[in-house]
């Protein structure tokens, strides 16, 4: 383990070294990948196929393709090419996770605190991940708005943001927001809410406040436009907290709700019906298998772990069959990491679902096209198709095999992780006196 940490440290140090030279990062967005086993995800698998990428977009898929002059050719030698992995729930590449001082903080925006220097980005790239939905934490009943990033390591933060993705707002229910696993400090009051009923009531009351807020503004705009506006007409106070909730009610934001147990998910579905807002997915959703009919009727998917259940009371009835079973019942399921470490082995996590009843093709979808659909970017990424962005990962063996490893990660035709090149650089650096220079 210690050796591993040392190695990772050296790997990352090397990266800083590369950032200064950076020539290998700027491949220019044109590539020809030859002789790969292409796992297209949405179509058939193509053995010995070629993929031509021009300006970061997949131009051609076929056999015996030729590259225009000057385009870099990557020889895959039959290795497996899959769409870049998409993590639908993580907290990497951010300067903060929770604004934990209040149970209701929709005014905070994760897109404003992206930290492109976070080395977890590189860790993720080493596992074939090209896109993440990086979120506010689950400390609050209503957290903040989340952001979708492409892991363009070395680029400035603003270039990572995927503007085409759904704008989403984090909700959370259960033990984290009740703070039931915290030691209460003497003299400090328990934060409201302390129960699941409380969380539900709080969301309802906040959304009702947002409705009043919208009405106040509507009333003001109406008066302003009227023929004889009152002499002393003043606009209402702009409240960023309620502005965000108003956007949710107007359908401009989609809820992503951290929930574990079936009843709290049912409650939240009821709230969404009552107030007319849209739910993108339930996060973790350990008991989703109990309510597949209800979720399917509501058209709500889930973003889950594969098999790390029972780590707290509300996860006690989680089962490793959850993802597979819900997929078979017709729900849109994705596997997430929720971690800067697990993120580099999401392909292993998805692979485990084969044991629990999915085919390899179905398992692959959990971390590619399904995730893209949940984030609203399936027309851009999530599969290998002509016209889609060239976010790709090359694996030594089938990515759902336990023996595979990621060899290369590509975003929009630029190589951001190249295991072979990195090992060579590492060897070169270690022969120099003092390692790095």
């Amino acid at each position: 383990m210690r050796e591993k940490i040392k190695k990772t440290g050296l790997l990352l140090s090397l990266l800083v070294f590369f950032l200064s030279s950076a020539s290998w990062l700027l491949a220019g967005g044109d590539l020809l990948i030859k002789n790969a086993t292409i796992l297209t995800v949405t179509g058939n698998t193509i053995p010995n196929g070629d993929v031509l990428v021009i300006n970061g977009v997949i131009k051609q898929i076929g056999q015996n393709l030729t590259a225009p002059a000057g385009v870099r050719i990557i020889e895959a030698n039959g290795r497996y090419l899959m769409p870049g992995i998409i993590d639908t729930h993580t907290h990497i590449a951010l300067s903060g996770t929770n604004e934990g001082t209040d149970a209701i903080t929709p005014e905070v925006t994760m897109a404003e605190v992206v930290n492109a220097d976070d080395t977890s980005i590189f860790t993720a790239l080493s596992g074939g991940v090209t896109m993440v939905h990086t979120m506010h934490g689950s400390a609050n009943v209503i957290g903040g708005t989340n952001v979708v990033l492409k892991l363009k390591w070395g680029k400035p933060s603003e270039e990572l943001i995927v503007k085409e993705a759904y704008p989403t707002l984090k909700f959370a229910l259960g033990e984290n927001v009740k703070q039931s696993n915290r030691t209460l400090l003497p003299g400090r009051p328990q934060r409201y809410p302390a129960t699941r009923m409380g969380a539900n009531a709080l969301i309802r009351s906040e959304l009702m406040r947002a409705k009043d807020y919208m009405a106040a503004w509507d009333h003001y705009e109406q008066l302003k436009k009227s023929k004889n506006p009152p002499a002393n007409l003043l606009p209402p106070r702009k409240d960023l907290r309620l502005e965000t909730l108003a956007d949710l009610l107007r359908g401009k934001l989609i809820a992503r709700c951290h929930a574990y147990v079936a009843p709290e998910m049912i409650e939240f579905l009821n709230l969404s019906r009552e107030f007319g807002f849209k739910i993108g997915a339930f996060e973790h959703a350990w008991e989703a298998y109990k309510i597949t009919n209800e979720l399917k009727a509501a058209g709500v998917g889930i973003s889950v772990f594969i098999d790390s259940w029972a780590y707290k009371m509300e996860a006690a009835e989680g089962i490793a069959y959850n993802a597979a079973y819900c997929t078979q019942k017709g729900l849109l399921v994705s596997i997430n990491s929720d971690s800067g470490e697990r993120i580099r082995r999401l392909f292993n996590e998805a692979g485990k679902s084969v044991k629990y009843g999915l085919t390899q093709d179905e398992a692959l979808k959990l971390i590619t096209i399904n995730a893209a659909k949940q984030l609203g970017v399936d027309r851009l990424v999530g599969s290998i198709e002509v016209g889609k962005q060239a976010d790709l990962a090359l694996f030594s063996q089938h990515p759902m095999s336990a023996y595979t490893r990621c060899e290369m990660t590509i975003i929009e035709g630029d190589v951001y992780f190249d295991r072979e090149a990195l090992l060579k650089e590492r060897a070169a650096a270690s022969t120099k006196k003092g390692g790095l220079s």
């Binding site: 990352l12 903080t105 905070v108 220097d117 003299g187 400090r188 002393n232 106070r237 960023l240």
Partner: protein, 447 residues
């Protein structure tokens, strides 16, 4: 003779002498009173610094020149043959010495009680510590001039590194309060003040336990306060115009304190501790059309293109420690130390290459580290003349004091330093310092 004198004493001299004595005593007493009350307003002597090499900053170097100082101001600067030495001036022979304008550090926390000192004694048991209420430290109305406690020792230490003017900024909370510009002429605050208040200081800090406690919470909090100030101002104005049939706005001391800065566009200083904070500040400044200055900025070179187009004055610290969020700080001590030694010192020279104007500050550094790091920045490629400008005329402009400070020109405040050797050289020592025309003489190092 004796007889005659005695006669005179008794008949004439004695009353005259008495009157004379009384007059002398009254004059002495009144002069004592006036010097005690008026402080720097008392007339100061005239000096003529002769035969020195002058670096006026605004003009080319004068190889052998004279500087005349009268009553705290520069009366004349020029080549020896062109400047007449006034008869009443005390001549200071400065042959072999270099004269520079006094340096300005436009961001310090000098003369303030540190956090450790201000903490009250620890409660007897730890439970009591937890039960103490956590008060938010948001004090936009705070005038740091009221908290400043100058110490002679510190003033001297700063003279010895050439600094004659400092901004003292508050250092707690997000809306930290309002800073002051001080001339290091003594240890009497009122005599020292050059500009008060100078600006509102904002820091993207996150204090645990109180809202906001995260970077994104801090941004939302700042934005909400700016919107609230706009709304408050709108309501106040309307109420002043026509108070009838309009409910009065509730008095809000927080927003009152922000009005001059958010509405009347007095300067706001944003402390930017890493490159992302620079971007966040620039975004807020544009959004609310603020008149702002960025301070800290030791990763400014990483956002040079954005800074170039934004043209916001920069106060760049010579603190080279990589911020915790930086890629250079996340990979162990060796990488961090390497970055501190080799990458961050080149910040200023990189900005200079991009033709971005900036001032240098001693923010986060003590006097020894300031000199050490200044030399490191020059070694990393910053031209010495640009370093001098970044510590004189540039900060004077940013502080709106370029008519009084920042160069050796007639009419400006007599803040200057005399050195043996060129200012930033390793072996150079500062032998004389003049602040507001008050002369301080220091022994050379090692003597």
């Amino acid at each position: 003779m004796n007889k005659y004198l005695k006669k005179m004493q008794s008949a004439f001299v004695r009353p005259v002498a008495m009157v004379f004595l009384i007059i002398v005593m009254v004059v002495m007493a009144s002069s004592l009173v006036s010097s005690a009350e008026a402080g720097s307003q008392a007339v100061k002597p005239a000096y003529a610094l002769v035969n020195c090499r002058i670096f006026p900053v605004a003009q080319p170097v004068i190889e052998k020149g004279t500087i005349v100082i009268r009553d705290g101001l520069i009366e004349a600067v020029g080549p020896a043959e062109k400047v007449q030495i006034p008869e009443d001036a005390e001549i200071i022979e400065a042959n072999g010495l270099n004269a520079y304008p006094g340096l300005i550090s436009a961001h310090t926390n000098l003369f303030l009680e540190t956090k450790e000192q201000s903490q009250t004694a620890a409660p007897e048991d730890y439970l009591a510590a937890f039960s103490q209420p956590t008060e938010p430290k948001e004090l936009p109305w705070l005038q740091i001039v009221e908290k400043v406690k100058p110490k002679k020792q510190t003033v001297e230490a700063y003279h010895r590194i050439g600094i004659t003017t400092v901004v003292v900024a508050p250092h707690e909370g997000i809306f930290q309060g309002q800073g002051v510009v001080l001339n290091l002429n003594s240890d009497q605050v009122n005599e020292m003040v050059l500009a008060q208040p100078w600006a509102l200081h904002i820091n993207f800090t996150t204090e645990r336990g109180v809202y906001p406690s995260s970077p994104m919470g801090t941004l939302a909090f700042l934005r909400q306060k700016f919107f609230d100030t706009q709304h408050y101002s709108q309501h106040l104005q309307r109420y002043r115009q026509s108070p009838q049939f309009l409910k009065r706005p509730e008095y809000d001391p927080f927003l009152e304190a922000l009005l001059p800065f958010v509405i009347d566009k007095k300067p706001i200083v944003f402390q930017c501790n890493n490159l992302e904070e620079i971007k966040r500040a620039v975004k807020l400044i544009k959004e609310f059309k603020l008149n702002a200055v960025l301070t800290g900025c030791n990763e400014a070179w990483r956002v040079s293109q954005q800074l170039k187009s934004a043209s916001i004055p920069l106060l760049v610290t010579l603190d080279f420690r990589p911020p915790a969020s930086s890629v250079y700080a996340q990979q162990g001590q060796a990488t961090r130390e390497k970055a501190e030694k080799e990458i961050y010192p080149a910040n200023a020279s990189n900005l200079a290459k991009e033709k971005i104007n900036f001032s240098l500050t001693s923010f986060g550094l003590n006097d020894t580290n300031f000199v050490k790091n200044l030399r490191a920045a020059i070694k990393a490629g910053l031209p010495a003349d640009q370093a001098l400008r970044a510590l004189t005329i540039e900060p004077a402009r940013t502080l709106g004091l370029d008519k009084q400070l920042g160069s050796l020109e007639p009419g400006k405040i007599a803040n200057l330093i005399l050195t043996k050797g060129e200012l930033f050289d390793e072996k150079t020592s500062i032998v004389k310092v003049m602040v507001d025309g008050t002369l301080f003489t220091y022994e050379e190092k090692g003597q």
